[in-house]
């Protein structure tokens, strides 16, 4: 008589291999945190110095967007090559359920952020402070989305 534990060492099928979509979520999350962490750190310094012009912010934002896009594209290609067949498999019901969960969490973050930026901030701030606050709301929503996705893949999801 054998039990489940005896079977564990039979054909394991690389159970611990991370799903391709989880790898992409980790990549996107990391790139976003690093890129926009740097952007907001520099933007805060510029705001304190009082020497920033709109072109300074635009150039900084353009550089960050470009660098983030480049890193994500190159790393996604590398991940797809490394993952082989997994990267070509269409999303299944679990992938779709996890993606929906991430979007649902992010929606509320974005909603609160946009209400603050659109309805509260104009009374106390102007110009790039409002633009940066809006950008921060978008970034936080995306971080929550990718965070919920990697959390759901790691810890399980019974939705």
């Amino acid at each position: 008589m054998f039990g489940i534990s005896n079977i564990a060492s039979s054909k394991i099928d690389m159970e611990t291999v991370m799903p391709f979509r989880e790898k992409l979520a980790w990549l996107s999350l990391g790139a976003m945190v690093v890129a926009y962490g740097a952007y907001f750190a520099v933007a805060a310094q510029l705001a304190r110095s009082g020497a920033a012009t709109p072109m300074t912010y635009l150039a900084l934002l353009g550089a960050v967007l470009g660098a983030q896009a480049l890193v994500v594209i190159v790393a996604s290609i590398a991940l797809a090559i490394q993952s082989g067949r997994d990267s070509r498999a269409p999303a299944d019901e679990r992938d779709r359920a996890i993606a929906r969960r991430g979007a649902a969490f992010a929606y509320f973050v974005l909603l609160v952020g946009m209400v603050l930026v659109g309805c509260v901030l104009p009374f106390s701030a102007r110009g790039w402070a409002i633009i940066n606050a809006g950008l921060l709301a978008l970034v936080l929503a995306e971080v929550v989305r990718y965070g919920a996705i990697v959390w759901s893949y790691r810890r399980g999801w019974h939705g």
Binding site: I7, D13, E15, M18, P19, E93, G156, W157
Partner: protein
């Protein structure tokens, strides 16, 4: 961590089906290998349709594959 409310015998049934791999099972029912692994580990509860498809692959009734411990 609490025991999952739904347990299953998929790993045992795979073994008894000639050591069917997770990838083979997944390919037959339209799920990825990782999703089969997550179901076996109790980290994902499949949809009712996927549960019936899994049971069909092994030629078993649904309650021989999945058990509700709620």
């Amino acid at each position: 961590m609490a025991e999952p409310a739904i347990t299953n015998q998929i790993r045992l049934l795979r073994f008894m089906a000639g050591e069917m791999t997770q990838a083979e099972l997944g390919a037959r029912i339209g799920l990825t290998r990782q999703t089969i692994a997550a179901i076996e580990a109790g980290k994902y509860s499949p949809t009712l349709e996927a549960a019936f498809r899994i049971a069909q692959v092994f030629g078993k009734p649904l309650d021989a594959v999945f058990q509700w411990n709620g």
